[in-house]
Assembly symmetry: D3
Homo-oligomer: 209 residues x 6
């Protein structure tokens, strides 16, 4: 289970309204390469990782991605805060206002609602970790695009920090990928048999009960 702490993982303090940025920053909330996709992907996949090491890593990073969802949400909220109707109109956010007023909604930059079709879970640890490594690379690339699109140091600082976290996550997923690749020498036979997959989720999840 999760408990909430009333602080952000990384502080957000944007002083300058920037409605255009809000418009595409939302892709890291509800877009295909965004933080919500990452959080749900890892928390969903962790059950069938073949051992506690994998389950723990995916739980750990999945939980951090939930915190990133909150960081991105707070940024969007602050960027739109106090915007007048006229300002929203100029930034092309009148469409957003019509449907959501100044509230948030998890979409990509074009307003397409988030769907879990953006990610896959095969139950094969190597395939799932490849998917995760790709997810981190894609999130990194999007952060780089976003950094190109803003000059505000208050925004860039947060985006640079988030980008850095994706690189750290990529490395950790790659280490696990390499470990499983080596350990499961007979690859697909062991994996398809599944006999050593189901062992220890209960141990992991109920460990302290």
């Amino acid at each position: 289970m999760f408990s909430y702490e009333k602080k952000l993982q990384y502080p957000v303090n944007i002083k300058k309204k920037d409605l255009r940025l809000a418009k595409y920053l939302v892709t890291q909330y509800g877009g295909s390469n965004g933080e919500l996709a990452a959080a749900l992907r890892y928390l969903n996949q962790r059950y069938t990782m073949p051992d506690s090491r994998g389950k723990a890593l995916l739980t750990d990073i999945g939980t951090e991605e939930l915190a990133h969802v909150e960081i991105i949400s707070t940024m969007i909220y602050q960027l739109m805060k106090g915007a007048s109707l006229e300002e929203l109109r100029e930034a092309g956010l009148d469409k957003h206002y019509a449907e959501h007023n100044r509230a948030l909604y998890p979409t990509d930059a074009n307003g397409v609602p988030f769907t879990v079709a953006y990610f896959a879970t095969t139950g094969d640890p190597l395939a799932d970790l490849s998917e995760n490594m790709a997810a981190e690379q894609k999130a990194r690339a999007v952060y780089e695009n976003l950094i190109d699109l803003t000059d505000d140091p208050d925004v860039r600082r947060v985006l640079l920090w988030l980008r850095q976290r994706e690189i750290v996550h990529y490395t950790r997923f790659k280490e696990l990928f390499d470990y499983y690749k080596k350990h499961y020498k007979n690859g697909e036979i062991v994996l398809n048999d599944n006999s050593n997959r189901d062992n220890d989720f209960n141990n992991f999840i109920f460990g302290i009960m």
Copy 2:
């Protein structure tokens, strides 16, 4: 931000495989009335609740729904655990096996991937709280259908508990709805003006920083 505790909010200990049940229980994971929809809905809406009371309630219930997502996930995982290919085939889960092996994936009971199109955020507190009250009613109704569909006491006990939580959440949302309805006497004018909406999210979220 969220921190993870290695225990479930309510214990799950299913001893009897029931693959058919797994097949429709998944709707409370990735279906339109399920726990994931609830968690994301409330955590998304909280930013534009008009005061700390609303922000706190939505954060609180949203966080609990994340724990429910984990409970449902664990149930599905346990229900499929160690199932043979033959058993999966008989239960009609060969289609699931082809794509996901024995892993989880957040869909409705027909396999349609979860989408946030299942919920709305208008930025109007009364409308958003009505949406939430409806969400709790719908989740309750689905839990009742699921309880009809199983005789296993280990499963029923969890489902009855989850159903009860939905009723508690409904009541709490209704109290807040009634409070806002009374407090914001001039209703839509105040709400459209938005001047008193943006005040205190930072206070709330950064309160202990």
Copy 3:
């Protein structure tokens, strides 16, 4: 069955082209909180309302929402009528022109095609009526946003009237919700049994045959 009358339920007579307004007014046609969603939701749910009173109310309001779909469609049509390519381009409707010329298409304000995933039907009258009450609140909120976005009295008059109808519908759904809540004292048991649900649809629907 339905018969068509060659008049609008409420007159629409917009004299001033306003292409930007057309761009977001469409959300009340094909958006998640719009009139098409309302019409289909109620006409779909009416079959499993527990008595003729419920079936009649949902048929009645569902039919009126079909008339609202037509009002919104006519407004969009009039707002774009005779617009030159240059005007469409300036309003950002060149994308619309590429695909639809000056024709209508039921999407939300971002151009996402309408889907019934926007609404739910649980077969539980209390849950379904909660859903409907929420739908009316959300439609009201969107109308208020739209009213904020226009100064044209010809447009505002229609939107104010439509908003008023949503409030009337909300009240009627709430009365029915309260009636069922009281009448079905033993709530979920009766509802899950379904024995008194199936009685009278035929009576209702074939009553005058």
Copy 4:
């Protein structure tokens, strides 16, 4: 606007429960070639038909398709009426029960929610009428498949009648297609100019006000 008459366009009186049939009949409710798609397609396209003849035909057939939606809905309702949980389970409708109890929901036969992405509107009368002719052919083909799948004379009679209506509609659309093709000799120039499209919708729609 539409007014509701408390009778079906064609009587439905199914005496024999057939849950499997209900399972795929739903495609003519919410599937890509079904009645709801047809109704919304024609009612949406009518605004930009180039003259009153076209507007009237699409309004007329669109309104009839709404009546067909009701016929299909009533058939599904009657086919599931009074089914026990055990019967639902055997027919593979336990998944439906979990989410919708015995209520209706507009999906295709696999449970994919209806979307207007199933149809297109280009604003070009020849293209739109081609789309409509195809829609009628496809609906006819699906009715033929459904007729193959049932022996119940009460069901077949209705399906044969509905199939016949699609053929009538096809013929009427084809006549209009041929008329426009001949009349608009200089084809695309006239159509792109649009000057003679916008003339008479108001006349048509407000004709009797």
Copy 5:
């Protein structure tokens, strides 16, 4: 199988950047009436055409549509080539840049990802050919809209050629439709029996093996 030739079916050589055009040209790549939809529709339907003539025609046109996908893609690529961030911003492509940098992605003009829900396959040759005739008409109409939206002769030349190909395809589909209509005199009976459908795909596909 397909082999790739390193040339375009029709030469594309756009010298003038036009980012706005790129924004809606994409609909002929990933939109509902576009080239990708056409290619996949025909290549998918060809298996159940009733004879080699039909299978060959759909394979032939389907393969050409793949070449059209490449033409459209190359146009979009050339239109955005070397665009500065400032130019992308002015054209409203900053949202595109955030997610895709300057890469392509198959969506409609609003950024909605391509889905095969845009087309249908019924297995009935007359219905499927009607669908295809409609597809060609709709693509023609969209090309006409696009031609309206540009003055660049390098662009118009390609679009006029593509439009012309759609008319040729329409004619060929219509000829086949008329041929099947005449040949299969007893229409639905023969078609539902399917006995003469399955004959010759292997002959066709393996004919030269």
Copy 6:
């Protein structure tokens, strides 16, 4: 452009009807990890690969995946060939018959229509190649699941060959990933600047014109 050769890349000759297998084999046609997703992903991404080597590799593998789409389609076609209505019913393909008769349609195993939301294109070569490596791993995993689900040597032989191709593709993508990683030493700076991305697509694509 593409030219069609009337043979399959790998021969398919299934003698034994297996309708259940057809039901889930379709996921490699229209599912998230299937051949159509792979083909469109690579052919879409190739434009913004940074040099001819990358463009050529993606064109090459993308073209081969089109051939795999055809292999999978032929397998499904042969598996259903000549099946009686009774056999379709027993295999749960009556739903398929209702909508598609015995024709193909690109969906996942649950009948959800294919969407390009299954893949991403960021325009960053390392991110895009990570995505591709993941795609090949996921396809391999699904082939292993499918091989588990059949005993027919005629089917297994083809699936084993296809699985092997995914491993070859993975290796080739990995080599390119490693090459770019090394070559683009200053990584993101170069990539965001894009100056060396746009150089040579024309050379590549028009090389032999």
